[in-house]
Amino acid sequence: TPDTSSWTCESCPFPEGYSGDYTAETIYVTDDSAYLGDAGGYDEEGAYINFAGDGSYLSRDYQARWAIEDLGLDSRYLAVTGGQQGLYDYRVSYRELPRRQYDTTRTIFSPSGAGSLSLPLGWQRATATSDFPTLASDLVDVEIKSDRKLFEAGASYLPLPAVKLDANYRRIERNGVDIAAGSYFTQSSLLPRALDYSTDNVELSARLAVDRGYLVAAYYGSFFQNRFLATGWESPFVTAAGAETGRIAQAPDNRMQQVSLSGGYRFDTWDSGLSFSAAAGRATQNDVLLPYTTNDNLTTVPLPRTRLDAEVDKRNFAFAASASPLDKLRIDARFRYDRRDNNTPIESWTRVISDTFNSGEAEENVPYGFRRSNLSLDAAYRWSRELRLSGGFRRTEHDRDHQEVAEQTEDSGWGALHWRPNGRIDLLAKGGVAKREIDRYDESLAFSFGQNPLLRKYHLAYRYRRFAELTLSASGAETPVSATLAALYADDDYTKSPLGLTGAEDLRISGDVSYAASEKRHFHLQAGYEDIRSAQAGSEQFSMPDWRARNTDRFYTAGAGMRLLEVRDDIDVTLDYLRSIGTTEISIVTPGGPDAFPDLDTTLNSFHLRVAWHRSPRTTWNLSARYESFVMDDWALEGVQPNTIPVVLSLGAEPYDYNRFVIGLGFSYRIGPEAIRGDQPGYFTN
């Protein structure tokens, strides 16, 4: 260790005081758009005033940093962190996240009290949606949208350099409207359901860090509360036995608490290391249960209990070790074990069907549980400075309760080579197979659930998988060009599944090319292709397969960008373009012959130009022009008016079809020391 007493660092520019960049911006949006406003906050046409910025206060004994984003939008974010580094710190943040699902929806229902929906005055019931005489005049616009509000606060304290105490609190609130379904026998109404719930998450931890290792003890608590126990509605359809109202349960209040201990240690011997993690948690739910029915004309048996007292115990254990017993050999081992024990009391329940009559059948709730373990052993051998060979084996075991397959084992093996002939080329190629076996598929249990005994649920079925992966990166020796090509492939055969999923294939390819003509001229191209296929079989006759279907999802993305700094001395220009296309083809073969659905298409185009004019070292004018269009062809929505489906009163949501401009003009001002231009790496946003 050198004598550093004379290292005074006199030329080190330690900053002190306030600094920050703040931007005020006026924005104009040319059209309403739920889809393009989702998460971003620009869902309505018109002008917006926005404010953003970040700053800091730095001194020898105290540092604080803050950030503001989208203050004028429904996606606003504010954060402050501060403290005395090495002793304590705190962090507080607030984020709003708008969920904008549909702005083309219409309903006849109106809120009436906590979580209830009423029919219009004078509504005349009918048995089919086309027969509602006043439907057209009773429909009113309703937006399916909600807002998430996330508040976070946390603090850390270091009583000793090796000890860190940490506390974090996070509250998530969600308010608004989503879509529920109020069913009545074979009829149903889509409902604009009111949401008002919150989750409080608490995390406490204590960490001891020693020279080569650490130990963390932690507590995690998550507490969910829902203002609404249920959503009630008046049935618009003709009903029987006085079942004029229905009620669907909302998510019950619930809580999850967990304690954990984890740690790791590095050894000199064989450059080895160990990590472990052990967690024990309990999820509980004891909300009051609704009655079997809202229909006072019915006599029902008493509920076996008024609260469920549901309880699920979770155990998780993980262990990892790595070592290099030889100079060129590295061995890794990982093991994990998860357990879900559902201790919810099993009771006998007598369902009321559609609030109209007692089923007369006693049904028991099924507390699903499982035990799952996973062991993997990997080895990597550095054959030469340029070439590394690796391979591994992995075994996953499942043991489930109350399901058609109790024991399931999947063995997987893979091999890979990683070739770096020089600093400019990097090739990773990997391939392997996996075979999932089951002890037996309990057909009698499946039959008791009402299932066709020939069905094999895809996550429980025998499966043989082949998979491969290729990544190639290259950069120019003389020219500053770099390119990456990545491909993933998986092919699944469910050869022992007469019914259900019989095969699946997934191919993903993506490529990037970057060119840095200079430190101030960057160009970027990207493209992606994905092809996901699946085949499945079904049986209308409840016997052998008599229909087959194929589903193919294809995606194409292409993007380009350029970042031109100092186009003129004081002007920076950034340009991004993205095109993303998704297509779903579904074909089906029935005894009546082959048939195909119209394609489900989604097409996004986005073009974003940003110009920054650095008027002075402290002031910048920003111009932003963004064009976005999104078009969707979706047979599930296209032409589906509220009364199109005879037995479902829908909300008439229309497929998205938007195009719009978002134009912004902003002014930035810097406080404190002048900015260090060029100290930020640039990333393309598309």
Partner: protein, 283 residues
């Protein structure tokens, strides 16, 4: 042994004083009052991370190559394991479970491939800029997040680290929590239950039905209903009936199993129900 420089950072800054270096002094690495940091009292300043620079800073003969120090980043000639060794020398406890056996370490990913320690703001630490850093390598995932239905990653409102723990995790997907479901419940606690009437696959793994990076189907479903549901449901009656284009608008009988929300037109409680009459997930 390679000696250290004579005057520490003052020696280094005599040559390296560009904007790509000076941002360092606004970062947590350069806090003199924090004795743990490279610029804390008695610490090794630049050489805490770059290693002894005595050879590098010494006079070299004409034509002789200047000895290198430890360099960071993807293009650096220093091996990733050596780079990472410098970082974990102080940050071992920050790496989390199993970093050394995880996919990043196994694939020679260096800390500096993602982190920038000389810049005022480290892009990977901010929600709005982090995904771009991850997508530098995870290019197929970037394409996935551009699908029609996805989490708000492209909008900069959710970072990869919202779900993933890149420094080490107990499960393969490098997730923050102990299981896939526990990670999802962080934000979607209303789906957690435990319910009176559970839907078996929901209790096990959300990704059996959902594609969290993006999908062409609303709700980020892996396939469209009813085919998705018919992968597991074959009961007599409507679950086993093949739905054909004849059920589309304009057909003889627009189908409640295909249109609007498909199976969810009635069985809306697919995540579970707490209603005593909800065994069919309709209440």
């Amino acid at each position: 042994d390679v000696p250290y420089s004579r005057d520490g950072a003052d020696t280094c800054l005599a040559c390296h004083s560009g904007p790509e270096v000076l941002g360092l002094f606004r970062t947590p690495h350069a806090v003199p009052t924090d004795a743990r940091t490279p610029f804390g009292h008695g610490q090794l300043q630049c050489e805490a991370c770059h290693g002894p620079g005595g050879g590098h800073t010494a006079r070299v003969r004409r034509g002789e190559e200047r000895p290198s120090v430890v360099r960071f980043g993807r293009d650096a000639d220093t091996a990733a394991s050596v780079q990472n060794g410098m970082c974990t020398g102080c940050h071992e406890a920050d790496t989390g479970f199993g970093w050394h056996t995880g996919p990043h370490a196994r694939n020679d990913v260096a800390c500096a491939d993602c982190h920038r320690s000389h810049t005022t703001e480290d892009a990977v630490l901010h929600a709005s800029t982090q995904p771009a850093v991850c997508f530098d390598c995870h290019t197929t995932t970037r394409s996935e997040t551009r699908k029609a239905f996805t989490h708000p990653i492209a909008e900069g409102k959710m970072e990869c680290g919202g779900c993933h723990s890149p420094h080490g995790a107990t499960i393969d997907e490098q997730l923050k929590r102990q299981t896939v479901n526990d990670t999802c419940y962080e934000c979607h606690a209303e789906k957690r239950g435990p319910w009176l009437w559970e839907h078996a696959p929901v209790t096990e793994d959300c990704t059996l039905c959902h594609a969290p990076h993006g999908s062409n189907h609303p709700g980020m479903l892996t396939r469209r209903a009813p085919l998705l549901c018919q992968g597991c449901h074959s009961e007599r009656g409507h679950p086993s009936i093949a739905q054909t284009p004849g059920g589309l608008p304009g057909g003889a009988m627009p189908s409640q199993f295909l249109l609007a929300t498909g199976c969810l037109n009635c069985h809306e409680q697919v995540h579970g129900s707490n209603h005593p009459s909800g065994s069919r997930l309709m209440r």
